[in-house]
Symmetry: C6
Subunit: 249 residues, 6 copies
């Protein structure tokens, strides 16, 4: 069976992705701090709910559900109401206040997967977000373990029948794709969000680096975050837009 | 509840921040040595007192209160008088003369938080500064611990109901945001102060890198330090100002 | 006996390779994530089957045969039918779901070679692919072991009488050829696939870095991936093509 | 009490420093080898003696007093005569000939401070130099210890009531301010001396990076070393002077 | 006795070398993978046989004699016939198939030298090649051992009365001369072969970095590999040739 | 007593050095492989003998006296005859053939100094060369030991009453002055020899980085090695000479 695509309904993005995210698979989003990884991931769920009534699950590793609910009000998404309607579920693996964000006895994939599976079943989720693996990865002793654990995780997600987004950290806007330099190799699909400082002005772009087995537009595409609306990607040839996008928020 | 902003009353800054600092949360300020982190942090309290009579607490990790009082006289702030008036309180965790700046038995977050809480209550503080975490972080064995401890700290601050500023060190003006490359990921809000050497001239800029869940102007904005007044930020398009700002102090 | 070449039948490539890949030897392909290493390797087998009815064996270290079958439908290759016809065989050494991709008791070359040899005999393979050694290499303690094991592996392949392709990871598009900086020295033949970001546009190129004992064109050559067809290399002088190739997918 | 300044009487420097060095505090001078750290430090004492009859103490960690006396004759400073007149005192902590420059049983701050205090009292010193801490720092196991020890040292100096200069090493002319990347953060005041190679010509500049709590001119200022006179700083806008200063010695 | 030169008879090279390689000494050739180190070394022997009937010995550390014989047929050198005629001898220290390329019980210089001496005597060799030391060096624990062992090796070769070529690996085309950064310092004579990627085109150059005690032309000189002939160096001023050499194979 | 200079009589150099090398002190020469450190050092002795009949001692750590005698015949220096005339003496601390260049039981400064002192007395040497310390330094465990040992060595040399040259290795032509980044700080005087590759052409320059306590010309100065004559430095403004010097050998 060939690879099909799930339309994200994120403004402009599905054009760049030639239809959407590879369905039933996981896509890794790498980006620097503030590059809008969490906004993109939340909008993936929000747009699914608003445009296609597809329920979603948001697994949060550092920010609390409470914080996320407040943060996204300003983008027009009333997550609490979706939770009430059984369309959005949080799996909260953020550390307890006063506890270090270190998994007791090490990171336990089995326990995590059980909670995720339960939530996915409960809401009948078609979309899944894991935000952000940075804190988990940093507990692993070396890049071989990062590689192995990310591999196990993406394999395990396959069994859930959902289309997943996983966010991960990177330090520099150009250069190594991901923090440990191995995450992209074990992922089927990789996107990069950038927040580039260029002559004292910040410009946001997104790029699909790899979609295994399927097509997508290449290169960097400008996007902006509109209050009350969220991410709006601009699927026009990037070079022509350069001057215009530089004063985009 | 959506994110609200606390006006800092730092000249020009609230325009760039679209209202001020995210209220009730902590903002991390990263900057090289001499980039004005301590001036910015002190002015956050001073302006709060002078313009809005909001009391503040200043937790100092390296400079003594006595030194800070002298240092800020030249900017027109009579901290001692504010202390007398119950508007400013120091929490002095700078090492004793003759003692190494290493926390006996390791850094004890609980003890620190107790002292901070006491001071916040005593003056009824709405603003809190922690300056500077560099010496504390450097005692941690690895970046995982830096990450975990900063996470715990910012979580603990939430309970105090104050708007907080935390300062941290960085080495180079461009490149990695923070010394350990993880501090920015666990912070809700991140600002950068720069002191850039450009053709033998220094130019100061500030940038808001990330405000989770709320809006802000993007990119670098020039600022200057005026004797008797403190930081004056210039919220005009940075590029046009370039020639002018280069001869700014 | 002088070195002979096996025509790959990959569009345009055999011109650049002055006839094809060195017959009976192994060629190392290094490339970043998404640089089309797996596409190139699969097309080496697919084109052999379609154009010359030469059977092939595909040893997969990370992606499952099932995934690979789906991935390549979109390029027009019905691998399942070839498997049924005895023209394509998978050797699946990808980790079990739920198991870490770490070889129990270390990587066992002997056991791997036995399975490969069996598959090669069964289909009468003339072409062999090993995709991708990154995960295996990352388990070795140092570059000396990477070097020694890759050396042993390529030596062992000699005995099989096949023309082989081995894929390996690299991080940056320019700079060190391979991840550990030694893989290229112990390989008889080395190719590089690049996916270069140039003014926000991606451009794909391939280069033959070394063919021991035989001729090949030098430098980088543009290529594109055409849905339903696969890799199409463009064996024209690269510089003239530059503008044109930049809008190539 | 606000920060006051002690005029150094180094030609041109006090204009750049808006009056001189912060009185009663320590200033760190970082510079590459040959950047004139020792010349600047010695001239701080020499000018104090010649222009204001302020006695000074020079603590030397590597060069012997004997060598320093010879070295500075060529700049017109007869140190021996000032020693005789009770205006200059050396504290010689340079290693014994034949002994390694490693402090037996580790670096003992207490013993050093006792000797410094004795010398300061004896000549009634208002100025103090410590040249150079590189050899001491290199014995410390890590940057945390460098940070802690430098902090203790500058705190201890406060008790002496003198204005102090401490010299430290740096490798590259641009980039990290100091060798360990932490020295500048624990210092109240930081200056950089540069000896830049620019198109095969060397150009000397000085820069005040930070004066906590007080004003100074920003950016790099050219200076030259005049035989028989010492350092002459040129407090004119640096850019205009560029061509002229490049043939300055 | 002053240094004399042995003409290599490699086309064009002896002009650049002001006569040839320093006679009776060893020359180190450093180059990246595919830079033609093995071709140059083999041609040193082949040209000696063809032009001056000087027998040679080729010590091979990784490629088998069988592979080398095939590889060089395409350059017109029938090594097997020279072996039969007693003009060429291999010393095969390549690892056994199935064995790791690690010397049992460590690298044994004495045993190696005995085998080399035997071969040198048998054919009456005047020329000697050791290709390639990369695999041997990588077994040494640190650069001090690399340095010491290379030193011992070149000293031992002196006793054989031959002119020797030793090949070693380097990673980048510019920057550090050799992999460990010490090999060049203990060698009397050092050459660099480069295979530079310049605007998507590869250009080959050779450079003599150091001939202790004797003269040579300085800088980079273009060369090409002509099928049926081997290396042809072009001893004309490099800069003028630049455009022309870029389309050279 | 002020610093006096010993004219080296190396062509052109004494002008750049404002008279010569600081008398009675040691000067460190850092340079890459082939940068002419050994030639400069030998010429310092040879010119002293030829122009001023000042005897000299050459301590050689890696090359044998025999090799050095041959190497310098081509520059017109008959070292053997000077040895016979009691004007030149070697101290040979190069390793025995077959022995590793590692000092048994560690590097023994006392034993070395005894041999040097004996040779200095025997010929009544006024000039001393130590070539090259790279191999010795590489045996030390860390840069602190390199620093301490170099310090001890230069202190010990003071007692001999000679003007000394010490050569040391560096990797890159620009950037860090010396291999360990500390050698220059503990040396009174530092020179750099460069062999810069600039658009495929090599250009040699020398620079005096630091002469403690005395004057010298600043910046890089071109030099060339003339067969039969040795180093000829060109004390004209470097920039004007640039085109001309680029075709200099
Ligand atoms: N309501 C809003 N209106 C406008 N912009 C917003 C709004 N909410 C968020 N943003 C923008 O999005 C940014 C935050 O993005 P986000 O939290 O997704 O980044 P991230 O990549 O997840 O960062 P981190 O790795 O630190 O978690 C803010 O800095 C702000 O610029
Ligand atoms: N009264 C003043 N008048 C003018 N400028 C001042 C005054 N006080 C401080 N400054 C400026 O502010 C700088 C100090 O800034 P500040 O101490 O806030 O830096 P910082 O980022 O906290 O550095 P560190 O990390 O070393 O603590 C001084 O170097 C000076 O340029
Ligand atoms: N059907 C298709 N149509 C168009 N392009 C495709 C198709 N299938 C794959 N591609 C392109 O090929 C890329 C994947 O290449 P491939 O999987 O071979 O990379 P890789 O070098 O093996 O990466 P990794 O190291 O991560 O395994 C996709 O990102 C996509 O751009
Ligand atoms: N009498 C003099 N006349 C002219 N220039 C002099 C004189 N004395 C010293 N100099 C210059 O000053 C330089 C030495 O400076 P100094 O010893 O202060 O450097 P430094 O920064 O202390 O170096 P290090 O870190 O190696 O101790 C000399 O290299 C020389 O260029
Ligand atoms: N018969 C031939 N005709 C044309 N070119 C050839 C021929 N044989 C070899 N070459 C060229 O020489 C290159 C191989 O060079 P060689 O094996 O000497 O490199 P090397 O520096 O020894 O590499 P390594 O370090 O990987 O051993 C080939 O990549 C090819 O470009
Ligand atoms: N007789 C000569 N004629 C011309 N040039 C010569 C002569 N002898 C030496 N040279 C030049 O001097 C260079 C050798 O310089 P030298 O041995 O002094 O370098 P080095 O800096 O000591 O290197 P290393 O660190 O490897 O010992 C030779 O490469 C050559 O270019
Ligand atoms: Mg986030
Ligand atoms: Mg501060
Ligand atoms: Mg792949
Ligand atoms: Mg000094
Ligand atoms: Mg080779
Ligand atoms: Mg030498």
């Amino acid at each position: 069976m060939s690879i099909s695509k799930l339309p994200t309904e994120i403004h402009g993005f599905d054009l760049i992705a030639c239809g959407g995210l590879p369905e039933g698979r996981a896509t890794l989003i790498a980006g620097s701090s503030g590059s809008a990884k969490t906004v993109f991931a939340a909008q993936f769920l929000a747009a699914g709910i608003m445009e296609r009534r597809e329920p979603g699950v948001f697994v949060t590793f550092e920010e609390t559900p409470e914080d996320l609910r407040s943060n996204f009000l300003g983008l027009g998404w009333d997550i609490a109401s979706w939770e009430a309607a059984g369309l959005w579920a949080f799996v909260d693996v953020s550390p307890e206040p006063g506890e270090p964000p270190i998994f007791a006895g090490g990171y336990d994939l089995g326990a995590l997967m059980a909670r995720v599976q339960y939530a996915v079943k409960k809401v009948g989720a078609r979309r899944l977000v894991l935000d952000a693996l940075g804190g988990v990865f940093s507990q692993f002793p070396d890049e071989t373990t990062v590689r192995a654990e990310l591999f196990r995780l993406t394999r395990s997600l396959r069994g859930l029948g959902v289309t997943a987004l996983i966010t991960a950290e990177r330090g520099e806007e150009y250069g190594a794709v991901s923090r440990y330099g191995v995450e992209e190799f074990v992922s089927d699909n990789v996107m990069i969000l950038r927040n580039v400082l260029d002559e004292e002005v910040r410009r946001r772009t997104l790029e699909i680096l790899k979609f295994r087995g399927t097509d997508h537009l290449k290169g960097e595409w400008p996007f902006t975050i509109v209050p009350g609306r969220g991410i709006v990607a601009i699927p026009l040839a990037a070079l022509q837009l350069k001057q215009k996008s530089s004063d985009v928020r």
